[in-house]
Symmetry: C2
Subunit: 361 residues, 2 copies
DNA sequence: TTGCGCATCCAAAGCGCTTTGGGGAAGGCG
DNA sequence: CGCCTTCCCCAAAGCGCTTTGGATGCGCAA
């Protein structure tokens, strides 16, 4: 069933049927109702290829993901993708997933836009000065970023308040009496890692503290990395009494490292991780349950889909900026430093580690 | 730059340019070279929408994934997707990801095919009698299944030899002297779960054994589920001495359960899991390293992409069937049952559990 | 010379939709 | 009563490609 047939059935011109369907004003209400009714009855759906050709719009939004053989593809990415797909499925658009070698990423954007294959993009995991933003802006392609960057061009984004989240998490640990807190963070080039580090440093600075050397790490966020880094730090006399981790996967490794060394999480070592709500690994089922800064990344994907569609339909990018605050979920992985249970929050840390840290005030 | 302009530049007709580009025989070699050269020089790419409209082919392959809010989306699915995307990116086709409520899945296939939006599908996680196969066959839509079913219609598939893999894993445990082996499996409706159970049962039967009651579980494959199930089984006098798990995520839970109860994996309890090579959770970094039946699911996704493209171009489904054998990787999570270290393989299990099991022979 | 087959090429007709540029009828206004 | 709006509606022209159904010219056998 196509437009022509539908129009013939109704005894109206194709033009009018098309306009009725697309909500143009210059069609009588009675006619419009007739058309809509017939379209429903015959289960008519406009041919997307024809519409694309006629309008020049692709009816597609795309998300690129950079892959190299055997390289880690982040599960966080796929959670975002799941939310995005859920949103897009509610529309008439398609969601196109494109793998691209990292080297050719910008070139791929250019090709897709110039060929008119895509109406808009979602950018994930932005770096501090992400070249994709300038490129897509120059190409005139609508896009929404998951996260922010130092780019000064106006662009649409949805981000969580990473800085505030990690500042609060750090402050909680400090309030409990910790003074030596390690930060296991993601790749230093990524914006969220920078923001979290800033929050962490700000909270420390607020107490006149600063991180001991080697307390901040930047690496891919896997269980293995978390294990190795925590293990290295814990395996010395001057070990940190608490960890902040940018992912529950890292936290998983921290737990293993602590266990290896006979340390108990929630007593000898405190841990707080950022939780993107990966459905296959839940913080509440950790042993002991893992305290987190929580913000389901899938929900962000869904919302980003909505924003992208608005952006494509012409909404100004400056009007499409959202910063979500993050919940801090307290669980048993957090306690005062060993020997301080119930002690005054501002006292110095115990546990045989009297390092060169400045005292709390 | 479009066909018409390109043709004008060359002083040739659109028809000939089109035919030259598409490899038709009735164009002189000299002309074809000219056209190809010009196309390259002007960086000409045919407009996909126009081509779609003219040919009726969509230039798109799709994979559906069923989502319900807050429901687990399997990380295995995304690994498959990553491989598939990698393959499709090497072609001129698009990969469309469509979320769909499970109830409406068949309806969604129907819609996509009838609207001509999709040329072919990848089906993942087939059930024993998966209705999608009959539906898509009836619709005349090409597809490739990741896995097999009991369906008798001819269809293209790529599967790993789950039965053989789990038979071998089970046999290994039996050879070491285990007689009470539990199987933590996926949803019983899924084909791979059935196949693995068959392999497991066959290996037991080969020694005149059969699983003790309650030794087989079927549930979503998460850390939490693995924990609860292993914990329940281990927390009795008559506990199994070994576990077979259908996912490393389940195995993660088994490890935690064992630890909780003061049991050592690789001594008190042996564990073998199927490893799809999820990049963020590696069996070799488990503590102790986890023995596995290994088959990288991403590689399967890549190959399925190739097969689907062949299928779309008309290759008979009967010619597109692959069954991959699975590697069995021995690691420290496996040992003879406690008290039997170095003992005779066929002796009965020790550890206070002298259940109603039949003796090994 | 004529006729035929072959190798090349081309004009034009779609594919199914949107959009342009009116056109006719009804109603309001001077 | 004539003219101008306003409201609806429509024919037809694309969008950029593929494909059909010839047309042309040449070599070669009859």
């Amino acid at each position: 069933m196509n437009l022509k047939e539908l129009a013939a059935h109704l005894g109206i011109s194709q033009t009018t049927v098309s306009r009725a369907l697309n909500g143009y004003p210059d069609v009588a209400e009675a006619t419009r109702r007739q058309v809509l009714e017939a379209a429903r009855r015959f289960n008519y759906r406009p041919n997307p290829a024809a519409r694309r050709l006629a309008t020049g719009r692709a009816g597609t939004v795309a998300i690129l993901f950079p892959v190299e053989r055997n390289l880690l593809v982040d599960p966080h990415f796929f959670e975002l993708l799941a939310g995005l797909a859920e949103m897009i499925a509610r529309t008439e658009m398609e969601l196109s997933l494109r793998a691209t070698p990292p080297r050719e990423e910008l070139e791929t954007y250019r090709r897709l836009v110039n060929a008119g294959r895509v109406d808009g993009f979602v950018l994930s995991s932005p770096t501090l000065r992400d070249p994709r933003i300038a490129e897509l802006t120059a190409l005139g392609a609508p896009f929404v970023v998951h996260g922010r960057t130092q780019e000064t061009l106006p662009y649409a984004y949805l981000d969580i308040d990473n800085e505030d989240a990690f500042a609060r998490a750090t402050a909680l640990l400090l309030d409990l009496g910790h003074t030596d807190v390690a930060l296991l963070n993601g790749d230093a080039a990524l914006s969220f890692a920078r923001d979290r580090e800033q929050g962490y440093r700000a909270a420390l600075a607020g107490r006149g503290l600063s991180p001991a050397p080697g307390r901040i790490t930047n690496a891919p966020m896997t269980e293995e990395v978390g294990y190795r880094q925590a293990r290295a730090m814990l395996d010395t006399a001057e070990r940190p009494t608490a960890f902040l981790a940018s992912s529950v996967l890292l936290a998983l490794g921290v737990y293993r490292a602590a266990r290896d060394l006979g340390l108990a999480v929630g007593r000898d070592v405190s841990v707080i991780a950022h939780d993107d709500a990966l459905p296959f690994l839940k913080a509440e089922t950790f042993d002991p349950p893992l305290a987190t800064t929580l913000s389901p990344i899938r929900r962000a994907g869904y919302r980003i889909g909505e924003m992208l569609i608005e952006r494509i339909s012409g909404v100004d990018p400056k009007a499409l900026r959202e910063l979500w605050t993050v919940d801090l979920v307290f669980r048993a992985s957090v306690a005062p430093p060993h020997g301080l249970r119930g002690g005054a929050p501002a006292a110095r840390a115990a546990g045989g580690d009297a390092g060169a840290r400045r005292p709390a005030r």
